[in-house]
Structures are given as C-alpha cells and as structure tokens.
C-alpha cells in the first residue's frame, strides 16, 4: 500500500524549469539543496499548513488515543500534572467484557443486516428506473438527494413527530401500530435507526448506481436480448454484475456509517434507549469518556472499533477483488 500510495501522486514533469533540467543532466550535478528539499522546495511552504493540520488534528490525537487506552487517564484542571500509570491491556479487558459494549457492537450488526440489503435493492431499483425515465429526471434526482444534504438533526425532528405513539404513522396504521411505539420499543428501536439512515442516504447511492449504469456496455444488453433474455434475466446477468464496484462501495460506506452512528441513537431513540436497546459504540464513547470521565475506556472502545472497521473493510475488498477475477 505504501509503495503504491507514494508512487501514485507523481505530478507531471516540467522539463522547462531550470531545476528539472539540472536533474535531467544527471544525479551528480544535482545540488545538495535540491536533493534535500526536492526540485521545487516552495512546495514544502505551500503544503506546510495542511501538513501541520494533519499532524496536529489527525496523527497526534490518534497516537494520544492509543496511549490513553493503555493508561489510567483522568481529567484534571488545565495545567495540573498528574501521573497516568500504564495499565497494559486492562482497559481492553474492561471494554471487551462489558456487556453494554458488546451489545453496542451487536447493534451495528443489526444495522448492517438491515441497511446493506435495503440500500442495494432500493437504490439499484430506483437507479434503473431513473435511467429509463424520460420526463422529470431532474426533479426525481433532486427529490431523492434532498434528505442526504439535510442536517440529521432536522430530519430526526420530523421522524420523532411522525413516529410518536400518537403520531401520523400510527394514526394511519391504527390497530396495527406496535405497542410501545416504534422509537420506544426495544425490538423496533435499532431497526428504526437502520431505516432512518437508509432513507436519508439512499439518494447518494441512487446517484452512485446511476453513474455506474452509464458504464455498463450497451452491447451486453443487445447480445442478452438476442440470446432471448427477458428484462429480469438481463437485469440479473448484465446489470447486477456491471455495477459490482458500486455495490462494494455501498457495503464499505455502510460499515463506516454504522461505526459512526451517534446523532440517531442520541436523538431519535433518546440516548440509545429504550433500556440500551439501540446503543452504538460512539454513543458509549461519549457517555463513558465525556459524561462519566473515563477517557481511557472510551479510547479503548475507539481503538477496537477502528480495528474492526479496518478488518471488515479489508475482507470486503479481498472478496470483491476475488469475485472480479
């Protein structure tokens, strides 16, 4: 990975620049300055703010998180120095034997089981339909995309009202409405979060599939129909394999979204309720790390979470790469 990443950003050469001509002339003629800082050292100056930003806001905090997860860290007033004793894997032991933490990872599992198939089926279906539509294409695209660009807090507010026990949805359902109502029902709370996220993000995936559909060669559809394939058959044998890349991306982004869930369990189900039925790891990180002042265990949850995400993402990538061969 490292090699490909370092090789890929090769910018185009500037043969006209004097520095480049010097380099062309042979390595022995390159000045020490050029060898130390590169052919266009002003690049260091231009990129410096971004590099410092990454170091301060990304690299250092992640190192700090890993450090905290191995120590007994607690908050103090600014300027007060207290020892943070090294406790080895104790925090990880605490976290991995805490039923609340394990349950929160299970809830992500429920989220993925519902979100991934629903997203793939609905967004691919609507993308195919949108691809065939003649009229109102712009209107549909905009309509599907609006939830995606709207703040979660704003749409959560509407869902809260719609799915109240005396809300519109239950008024329509009448006796079919679950009791207790959707968001305060321990069976329905997590599926509701999954449904909400699926609904909110579907527009993004519809446009993703729509773009992928443009890259499926027309000839494949023609030969499929020559071979006597019906609409459903050519959808299964041409369209579905043709958009496999997009489907892999759905899975990957669903995993990242699931790992990041916070606003929905915090607001939609009132803090991971009822009775912890819709907690997520990030919600627990907030509750333990900031509300209860235990940043060490919160960091341990974070490290476990990111390791899991990276493992699942790698497995996902392996699987999709293999099936392409």
């Amino acid at each position: 990975m490292t090699t490909s990443a370092t090789r890929s950003p090769v910018p185009r050469d500037h043969p006209a620049s004097p520095a480049a001509r010097g380099a062309d002339g042979g390595r022995h003629r390159t000045s020490l300055f050029t060898r130390l800082f590169g052919r266009q050292p002003i690049g260091i100056l231009l990129a410096a703010p971004y590099a410092v930003f990454i170091a301060v806001i990304f690299a250092f905090p992640i190192g700090f998180a890993v450090y905290m997860s191995f120590t007994d860290y607690y908050f103090t007033a600014p300027g007060v120095t207290v020892p943070h004793p090294f406790v080895g894997l104790d925090n990880y032991k605490t976290v991995l034997t805490d039923p609340a933490v394990l349950a929160s990872f299970g809830h992500i599992g429920i989220f993925l089981i519902l979100n991934v198939p629903l997203t793939v089926a609905l967004s691919l279906g609507l993308a195919v339909a949108l691809n065939r539509a003649v009229h109102f294409r712009t209107f549909f695209r905009a309509a599907y995309y609006v939830p995606y660009v709207t703040a979660s807090v704003a749409v959560v507010a509407v869902w809260l009202v719609l799915f109240r026990s005396d809300g519109l949805v239950n008024q329509i359902l009448g006796p079919l409405a679950p009791d207790p109502s959707w968001l305060v029902n321990s069976t329905w709370a997590m599926p509701m979060i999954a449904l909400f996220v699926t609904w909110k993000q579907l527009g993004f995936f519809i446009l993703l599939y729509l773009a992928a559909l443009q890259n499926v060669p027309k000839e494949l559809y023609e030969s499929a129909s020559v071979d006597g394939a019906g609409a459903w058959r050519s959808f299964r044998s041409v369209t579905v394999p043709g958009v496999r890349q997009a489907t892999a991306l759905v899975l990957l982004l669903a995993i990242v979204t699931g790992a990041n869930l916070f606003t929905e369990p915090y607001l939609l189900t009132g803090g991971g309720g009822p009775d912890g039925a819709s907690t997520t790891p990030v919600l627990l990180m907030y509750q333990q790390g900031i509300q209860q002042g235990k940043p060490s265990t919160a960091s341990a949850i974070g490290v476990v979470l990111v390791i899991l995400v990276l493992i699942v993402a790698l497995v996902n990538r392996r699987l999709t790469e293999r099936s392409e061969r």
Binding site: T6, G38, F58, V146, V256
Partner: protein, 306 residues
C-alpha cells in the same frame, strides 16, 4: 399521485429520445405496462423522500398540534408563525444561525486558502515529503473521526481551554481533506504546457497558481465549497461536545438540546421543534437546489457528514 396521467402521455411518444440502453424486446402492451411500473416506482420514491419535508413545513405552521391524518393538510384557520416566534424565544435563532455561519465560514476559509495551496503543491510541485503527505491525506479520508474524538476533546477543551470558542469548534475541520483531494485531481488535469509557459516567463509559483491554475479550476472550487459548506453546517457531534453555553452553539446543537429537553409547557412543542428544523434545513437545501448540477455524487463520498 399523478403517475397514471403521466403514463398516458408517455405511451404515445417515440422511443428515440431515450437517453439510455434498454432491453428492446417487448413492444406495445408490455412496453406500456413496464413504463407504468417505472414511473410508479419513481413517483412513490419521490413521495417517500419528500413527504417528511412537506410535513415538516406544514406542522411547523400549525396553531394547535394536529397529529391526525387531517393534520397533514394545511387548514387556513389553523395556520400561524407562532412556532417560529416560540423557537426564536427559546433558542435565539439569530444567534444560533450566526454561530452556524461562523463555524461554517471558518471551515470554508481554511479549506479554500490552505486546501488549495496543499492541493496545488500535491499535484504540481516536486518537494520532499510529498509522498508521505499524500498517503497521510488518504488515511485521513479513511479513518473515522470518532477515533480522535476523545483525545481531541481532551486537547482542545481541557488542555488548550478552547471549549465554547469558535476556534475550538472550527479547528478539527479547518481543512477538509476531501476538498484537498478534489483540488489535487483537478490541478492534475490541467495541461502542463500552460505552466511551462508561465515558468519560462518567470512567473513565481504563487503567481502561476493565482493567475493560471485557479481560474481554470473554478468549477472544482465551487463543488468543493458546496460540499465543505454542508459538512459543518449539518455537523452535530463535535460542536455538541465542545460547546456548553447556548450562546455559542450552532443551530444543529441548540435545536438538538431543545428537542431532548423540551417540555410540554409550550402550546405546540412539535410545532416549535419543526419550525427550528425548517430553519436548519433551508440553507443547505436551498444551496443544493440552486447549484444542483455541481453536486457530483462521487466527490461527495466522505465529504458530507451529519
């Protein structure tokens, strides 16, 4: 809704303006039936996506709360802007909007100034450490923000004492890495002859960037600005952690706090919540509708949060 009527219209039209490959086999009755299915699915989808927004507006204008089916239709006698006055009294909407604006503006400024410089350097200049920086940028795009959430809170709120400040709010998002990535991709696509010519004429790198590269990547700038706008405007988790005083909270945070603490004391609690939701939703939705064609789905991937 209007699906059947639209369908009749379609049946008589030619196939020639169809923009996409379709299976050609079926004709006549089967074709018409399939078109009906397609338009029906699309309209059903649009209703499912838009209804909550419609309901948000209608219910935010109700004088007395009406959660029944009839409440989904506006009645002239039951319309009011009281809910907006109510939420403004509880939250100080203007202050919250101003906070959201400063938070978003700070992120935009940082991204446009330093993100463009970084993207240009990554695309165009040979310098030591470019490969490392590029790999770091890709890592930022992949690793979830949540891992650094607790240490950032410790550092920014506790160690640096930046809790309840705009700077503390802006800092973790100051340069949007997705935008840097987009800038770099666009700079890479520019013809190199232009830059060679500028260098021969003795233009400095900054001058080249300002007078040649930037005017050519204006569409990319707009796309990056739009998606950078939506991120902090909708962001909830970080400003929620870092601001405790309501006077410093962006609208997403103050509205969320209002939702989780609102009592039945007000005449129409849902109405005022939804009025706040409308105010929070309108700027982002309006920008999206105005600049729709600049929202490219592949660019948005990791740029939009919240």
């Amino acid at each position: 809704m209007t699906a059947p009527r639209t369908q009749e219209g379609h049946g008589s039209e030619q196939d020639t303006d169809r923009p996409v490959p379709v299976v050609v086999a079926a004709v006549g009755q089967g074709q018409r039936w399939r078109r009906f299915l397609v338009m029906g699915a699309l309209f059903t989808g649009a209703v499912v996506f838009l209804f909550p927004f419609y309901y948000m507006v209608v219910a935010s204008l109700q004088l007395s709360p009406n959660l029944t089916v009839g409440g989904a239709f506006p009645r002239p006698g039951n319309l009011t802007v009281d809910n907006y006055i109510q939420i403004n009294a509880s939250l100080n909407l203007w202050q919250s909007l101003l906070n959201s604006g400063i938070f978003t503006g700070g992120v935009l400024l940082g991204t446009v100034v330093f993100g463009v410089l970084g993207g240009y350097a990554l695309a165009m200049l040979h310098f030591r450490g470019r490969g490392v920086l590029f790999s770091a940028m890709l890592l930022v795009l992949v690793v979830p923000f949540q891992l650094s959430m607790i240490p950032l809170y410790v550092l920014i709120a506790r160690d640096y004492g930046l809790g309840d400040t705009y700077l503390g709010m802006i800092l973790p998002f100051a340069i949007n890495s997705t935008a840097v990535f987009i800038f770099r991709q666009y700079f890479l696509q520019l013809p190199s002859e232009l830059f060679d010519a500028a260098r021969i004429d003795g233009a400095s790198e900054l001058r080249t960037l300002w007078s040649i590269a930037l005017p050519l990547v204006r569409p990319a700038l707009l796309t990056a600005v739009l998606l950078t706008f939506i991120g902090p405007w909708n962001e909830f988790l970080w400003p929620f952690l870092i601001t405790k005083q309501q006077a410093k909270q962006p609208l997403a945070v103050s509205l969320a706090n209002y939702i989780s603490t609102v009592q039945a004391s007000t005449a129409n609690p849902y109405g005022s919540i939804l009025a706040g939701a409308v105010v929070l939703a309108v700027p982002a939705v309006a920008l999206f509708l105005i600049f729709q064609r600049h929202f490219v789905s592949t660019d948005l991937g990791s740029g939009v949060k919240g």
